[in-house]
């Protein structure tokens, strides 16, 4: 492997049984062949750390609630990632905190560039069939965003 090589891992997060939380799982299912390793992780948090294998780029796909309209696809760089409030939990442990822990414990495994593809959701307390229509319609856009990032990463 050459030093300048960029390698990407895409980690899709979300409970496949819960309405809008399944957005990450839907993206995982529809992503098809991309020039990256693609992983699915039910609840995220520190559990994403063992999935990292020294790639240079990490793309995380997850449902988010950042206050935008449902179905908005956010593309957030590391510096823009929201910090968890004090009520962080083992489930809700933020991506930022998980990566910070990884940078302390296993710096060689943690990608230098982290991007979140966040799909704004609204319904997180009902089952899968109640996925908000705007969120279902956003899945293909999120897939395109992930593909763009993977290809962009390799072009650099």
């Amino acid at each position: 492997m050459q030093l300048r090589d960029r390698r990407t891992v895409v980690i899709c997060i979300g409970n496949e049984l819960i309405a809008d939380d399944a957005a990450g799982y839907e993206v995982y299912c529809r992503l098809g062949a991309v020039a990256a390793r693609v992983e699915y992780c039910g609840v995220g948090g520190v559990d994403i750390l063992p999935l990292l294998d020294g790639e240079t780029d990490l793309v995380v796909v997850d449902a988010v609630q950042l206050g935008a309209a449902p179905g908005t696809v956010h593309l957030l760089a590391w510096s823009e990632l929201p910090q968890s409030g004090p009520e962080i939990s083992a489930h809700g442990l933020g991506l930022r905190e998980a990566i910070e822990i990884g940078r302390i414990l296993t710096p060689e495994q943690v990608p230098e560039r982290v991007t979140l593809v966040g799909i704004e959701g609204r319904c997180f307390n009902r089952t899968r069939e109640f996925m908000t229509r705007e969120v279902s319609q956003a899945i293909d856009r999120a897939v395109a965003a992930v593909r763009g990032l993977v290809e962009g990463g390799h072009n650099e």
Partner: protein, 471 residues
């Protein structure tokens, strides 16, 4: 008269807990307790479903202890069908479960209680979170997270899925061990064992330091109570065995098979919380009791593996027997991690693990009561199944219900030592929360909280609300 307790609609969402602390006119503590504002209703949801689905559906009750529900349901179905799974199936179920216990206890000690132990109860809340622990003690954090991962990998390989396992079924387990998997399991168990010499003294050190810094924890946070746990071959057992009950002096008061549970365990509804509490009904009296790691040790006094029993002897020298000091729950969890790793090592080397793993099952109509020792204590599943294999009635008793009365007494003690006459909200929150967390209660999600749990504390004096602290 003003109402003492106000359930705020804001907190009436899944996973939130509310604590009330009632003082009398003179400011003396009257009572304190935990209110659970959520109703989940699984016992009703299960009615009308195929019994075969119970191990998968009930695993979804909880993301913290799904394997406990998965296996308690299987045990109940085996008994309802009148079958005993083959020895290999029982060993593999146990192995799956040991992985789960390692994972769950590692999470509880290091991630949930870690902020209190590593950073101290009085530390700045801004850093009392998992990133703070990792920064304060990266070496311990690395080992702890690795132990958690190994436990999860064992659970995932044998259980088919990491979080909500699927392989265990009525009559056995839909899993067989091939050479490659056996090799991986052995490597994980060896690796976990290799981590113990670093992790055990470190956690003990943190615990002893916490006791030094907060003498009330050792001297006042003591709740003498009865205890119950599962015992097999006169040692702690997670799966299979009889239930033994001891009183606060350690005398054995009762031993029974799980099918008799409703003769002795009395569930009651309280009007201020959705959680039903459970007491032991014996000789005309109703006794509060404790379940979980410390209760198991108090009840059985033996694990049957070398390192765990040596550690247990040290525990007894420090905490006495039967131990009623709340904070020693953490030490008990640590010893169970040691034991689980040793026992998993025995199972992966056992030749019987390669035998037949499943026998056919047919429900002829009847009742099945099953149990496991969940990480947090005895878990009971009770199903009435008709001749078509449909669940007609279900009753589940989980650990936290059984610990409820004792948790409330611990909150009262924490309130006495850290709340009364101390206006500092932070110390109050930390102390009350820590006392609850020693029991690792599972209100589905509330106590997953890292660093802080979503909590509301209402303090009233002479019936009037004086202060509500919320986060």
């Amino acid at each position: 008269m003003k109402k003492t307790l106000k359930i705020d609609p804001v907190t009436r969402i899944e996973g939130h807990a509310k604590v009330y602390i009632n003082l009398d006119e003179s400011g003396k503590l009257e009572n304190a307790g935990l209110v659970v504002n959520e109703l989940r209703g699984f016992e009703k949801i299960l009615i009308g479903m195929e019994a075969d689905r119970m191990p998968h559906i009930t695993a979804r009750i909880c993301g913290v202890c799904p394997t406990a529900h998965h296996l308690a349901a299987c045990d109940a179905l085996d008994r309802a069908a009148g079958v005993t799974p083959p020895p290999a199936a029982l060993l593999l179920r146990e192995l799956m479960y040991l992985g789960h216990l390692i994972h769950s206890h590692s999470l509880s000690i290091f991630v949930l209680q870690g902020p209190d132990l590593v950073l101290g109860l009085d530390s700045d809340p801004a850093s009392r979170n998992i990133v703070g622990i990792v920064q304060a003690n990266p070496e311990l954090a690395r080992i702890a997270l690795r132990l958690r991962t190994i436990g999860q990998k064992i659970n995932e390989m044998v259980g088919g899925r990491g979080t909500h396992p699927v392989t265990s079924v009525a009559g056995g387990i839909a899993f067989t061990l091939d050479q490659e998997k056996e090799k991986a399991l052995k490597e994980w168990v060896d690796e976990a064992r290799g981590l113990l010499p670093a992790v055990v003294p470190a956690v003990k050190g943190l615990l002893l330091r916490a006791l030094e810094l907060h003498p009330a924890m050792g001297a006042e946070w003591v709740v003498p109570s009865w205890a119950m746990g599962t015992v097999k071959d006169d040692a702690v057992s997670l799966i299979g065995g009889r239930l033994r009950v001891i009183d606060e002096t350690g005398a054995t008061r009762l031993e029974f098979g799980i099918e008799e549970y409703d003769k002795y365990l009395l569930e009651s509804v309280v009007d201020w919380s959705y959680m039903k509490k459970v007491g032991i009904n014996l000789e005309g009296g109703l006794h509060d009791y404790r379940v979980g790691p410390m209760a198991r040790m108090n009840v059985a006094r033996r694990f049957g593996t070398e390192l765990a029993d040596a550690e247990l002897a040290e525990f007894t020298a420090l905490g006495g027997w039967p131990c009623h000091t709340t904070v020693f729950q953490t030490y008990a969890k640590l010893i169970e991690i040691v034991w689980a790793i040793e026992r998993a090592g025995e199972i992966v080397k056992d030749k019987a693990i390669h035998g037949e793993t499943r026998i056919p099952v047919r429900f002829k109509g009847g009742r099945g009561v099953g149990h496991v020792e969940a990480p947090r204590g005895t878990l009971i599943h009770d199903y009435q199944i008709d001749e078509r294999g449909i669940v007609r009635a279900a009753n589940l008793i989980v650990a936290t219900q059984q610990n409820y009365a004792i948790i409330n007494r611990s909150i009262e003690q924490a309130a006495r030592s850290h709340v009364i006459d101390r206006p500092d909200d932070r110390a109050l929150m930390n102390a009350v929360e820590f006392s609850i967390r020693c029991y690792d209660p599972c209100l589905s999600c509330a106590t997953h909280a890292v660093g802080r749990m979503p909590l509301e504390i209402a303090i009233s004096r002479g019936g009037d609300a004086v202060r509500t602290v919320r986060r």
